[in-house]
C-alpha cells in the first residue's frame, strides 16, 4: 500500500515549492498591512514545542501561527492527517489529542507542548491494521480515501464516547445507558464529511467493530 519512493519525492518537491510561494505572498501582504499604528507582537513569533506523536516525543520550532495540522503534515511529514477545509467544517484533519478527537486545523501547535497526539499512522499499518481500518476495507468504507483517516479517527472514538455515556443530540433518556444504534453513530459522525458519499458503508464498518468487541 505504500506509494513508490519516486512518487513520494516528486510530491514533496511540489509541496515544498507551493508552500514557499504561499509564504512569500503572505509575508508581503503582512508587511504592507501592518501599519505603524497597529499593535505589534511583543515577543518571539516562533516557539519550540515537544509533541508526543504516536508515542514518540518530537521537538519542533514553529511559527506561532502554525496549526497542529500543519505541524503534523509539513513539519513532521505525517501526511496521513488530511486538510480539507482548514476551518473546522469537514473533519478530514481529525486526530486525537490526549485521547480525545479534535479538528487539528483549529488548534495551534504551540498549544500542545507535551500533549499526546495520535494520528492515523500511529493506529495501524498496511500489514498490521487496526480493527477499524480492517473494517473500512472489508465494508468498502471509502472511495477516494481522502476523508478516511479522519473518519477512522472519529469512528474509533465514537464507539468509546457512546460506551462512556457521553450524550448526543439523538440520545433519548439522559440518565440511562446509551444504546449503540445507527442513529447514534450517524449523529456522532456528522462532523466528518465524505464527498464520495461512502456514508452507508462507513456506518457498516463502525457497526462491525462495535459488534466485534461488544
Amino acid at each position: 500500500m505504500s506509494p513508490p519512493i519516486g512518487f513520494t519525492l516528486r510530491r514533496r518537491t511540489l509541496l515544498a515549492g507551493t508552500a514557499a510561494a504561499a509564504l512569500t505572498h503572505s509575508m508581503t501582504r503582512d508587511a504592507s498591512a501592518q501599519t505603524a499604528e497597529a499593535p505589534q507582537p511583543v515577543g518571539p513569533q516562533t516557539s519550540t514545542v515537544t509533541l508526543v506523536v504516536n508515542g514518540t516525543p518530537r521537538e519542533i520550532t514553529v511559527d506561532n501561527r502554525v496549526s497542529l495540522l500543519d505541524a503534523l503534515r509539513e513539519h513532521l511529514k505525517l501526511t496521513g492527517t488530511k486538510k480539507g477545509c482548514d476551518h473546522g467544517q469537514c473533519g478530514a484533519c481529525t486526530c486525537t489529542v490526549n485521547g480525545e478527537r479534535i479538528n487539528a486545523c483549529l488548534s495551534l501547535a504551540v498549544m500542545h507542548d507535551g500533549d499526546e497526539i495520535e494520528t492515523i499512522e500511529g493506529i495501524g499499518q498496511p500489514d498490521n491494521m487496526d480493527p477499524m481500518q480492517a473494517a473500512f476495507v472489508e465494508q468498502d468504507g471509502f472511495q477516494c480515501g481522502y476523508c478516511t483517516p479522519g473518519q477512522i479517527q472519529s469512528a474509533r472514538k465514537v464507539i468509546e464516547e457512546i460506551r462512556a455515556g457521553i450524550p448526543s443530540h439523538v440520545t433519548g433518556d439522559l440518565t440511562a445507558e446509551i444504546a449503540m444504534t445507527d442513529a447514534e453513530i450517524r449523529e456522532r459522525m456528522s462532523g466528518n464529511i465524505c464527498r464520495c458519499g461512502a456514508y452507508a458503508n462507513i456506518l457498516s464498518a463502525i457497526t462491525q467493530v462495535a459488534e466485534e468487541n461488544a
Binding site: 511583543v42 480525545e100 472519529s154
Partner: protein, 316 residues
C-alpha cells in the same frame, strides 16, 4: 493570519495583568472560533494569551445546591456531567445540538458564550459590515442580501446579526451568572442576561466585558426542576446553526420559562412572556416577539418560533 507573540500564563491574575498591559492581546481558549476568525484576518491579535494553563476546568457544587463551572470545562464534559444531565437537562440538550463531537471536545464554556456571529457578510471580508469594520455599512441589509439566517428582533438598522450559541440559550433560561476577573484584578458577576449587548449604533461592541476582562466561571443557581427541553430547527438534521431554537422549562402547573435562539443578537427571553406560558404558544410569542422587525427573507422565523414552542408544549 497575522503574526503574533504567544504566552501561556499559569493563573488568572497573571492573565488579566498581561491582557491589560499588552496592546492588541486576546485570550485563546479552545480556539475553535478565534483561530477560524484569525485565518480570515477578521481577528488579528498581536499577542495571544492562551488560558489553557489556568486550571478552571472543574465543575463544583455551590452552597445553594447549584453548580459552578470553570470556564475551561469543555462543551463535551459539561454536557456529559451527571448533575447537568439530571438537574439541568436543557443545558445538555442545547450543547449536544451544537457543532460536532470534535468541536465540542475542544470548545470551552466561556469561549462558547463569547463566540462571534455567523452572519455570512461578517465572514466575507469583501463585503461591508459594521460589526467587523465600524461605519462601513451592513452587507446583510443591502438590496437582495441573503438574510435567511439573520435576526428578527433586538436588531438595529446597523446590524441584524444573531448570536449563534445554542449553549447560551440554555444558560439564559437557567439564569446563569458569569464570574469574571477585571483588568484591575477585581472579581465581578454578570448575569448571562446582561452579558451580550444589543447592537444599536455600535454593533462592534458585543458584550458587557471590559477589554481584557477574563471569564473564570459560569454559575448555575439551584435546579429549577420541571420538564426541560431544547428544540433546534435548522436547514439539515445535524451540524448546522439554528434558524430558530427554543429552550423550555415547564412546571407541572403550566408555568415556566422560555428562551429563543437564532432570532436575536442574544438569547431572547422576557419575564412577561414567561408569564404567558399557561396561555399557550401564541400568547407567549405575542409578547416575546413583540416589536420584531424581520426582513422579507426571515419573517418565517416568527411563525416557526410559535409552532416550535406549540409542538414542545404538546410533548412537555
Amino acid at each position: 493570519m497575522r503574526a503574533f507573540s504567544y504566552e501561556k500564563p499559569a493563573n488568572p491574575s497573571e492573565a488579566v495583568a498581561r491582557a491589560a498591559e499588552v496592546e492588541g492581546a486576546k485570550f485563546l481558549a479552545g480556539g475553535t472560533n478565534l483561530l477560524d476568525l484569525m485565518k480570515h484576518e477578521i481577528e488579528a491579535p498581536a499577542h495571544v494569551i492562551d488560558v489553557n494553563g489556568l486550571g478552571l476546568d472543574e465543575v463544583t457544587e455551590t452552597e445553594d445546591g447549584g453548580l459552578r463551572i470553570g470556564t475551561l470545562v469543555t462543551n463535551t464534559a459539561l454536557s456529559a456531567h451527571p448533575r447537568i444531565r439530571r438537574d439541568y437537562p436543557v443545558l445538555t440538550r442545547a450543547i449536544a445540538a451544537g457543532a460536532t463531537g470534535q468541536l465540542r471536545n475542544k470548545a470551552t464554556t466561556g469561549g462558547n458564550l463569547l463566540q462571534r456571529t455567523r452572519c455570512p457578510y461578517f465572514f466575507d471580508t469583501n463585503m461591508p459590515c459594521n460589526k467587523r469594520s465600524p461605519g462601513s455599512g451592513c452587507g446583510a441589509l443591502t438590496e437582495g442580501a441573503f438574510s435567511r439566517q439573520l435576526g428578527v428582533i433586538g436588531t438595529s438598522s446597523s446590524c441584524i446579526a444573531t448570536h449563534p450559541s445554542d449553549m447560551a440559550v440554555a444558560m439564559r433560561v437557567l439564569d446563569a451568572i458569569v464570574e469574571t476577573v477585571t483588568p484591575s484584578g477585581m472579581t465581578r458577576e454578570i448575569a448571562v442576561e446582561d452579558l451580550h449587548l444589543l447592537p444599536g449604533d455600535t454593533p462592534e461592541r458585543e458584550t458587557a466585558l471590559m477589554p481584557g476582562e477574563l471569564i473564570t466561571h459560569v454559575r448555575l443557581p439551584a435546579p429549577v426542576g420541571g420538564t426541560q427541553a431544547y428544540h433546534k430547527v435548522r436547514d439539515r438534521a445535524s451540524y448546522a446553526f439554528a434558524l430558530v431554537s427554543v429552550a423550555l422549562v415547564r412546571q407541572a402547573d403550566g408555568t415556566g420559562r422560555v428562551a429563543l435562539g437564532g432570532v436575536a443578537p442574544k438569547p431572547w427571553r422576557r419575564a412577561d412572556a414567561d408569564a404567558q406560558l399557561p396561555n399557550g404558544a401564541a400568547a407567549v410569542m405575542s409578547v416575546l416577539l413583540d416589536g420584531a422587525t424581520p426582513t422579507e427573507e426571515n419573517a418565517f422565523k416568527l411563525t416557526l418560533a410559535e409552532r416550535t414552542l406549540a409542538a414542545m408544549l404538546k410533548e412537555a
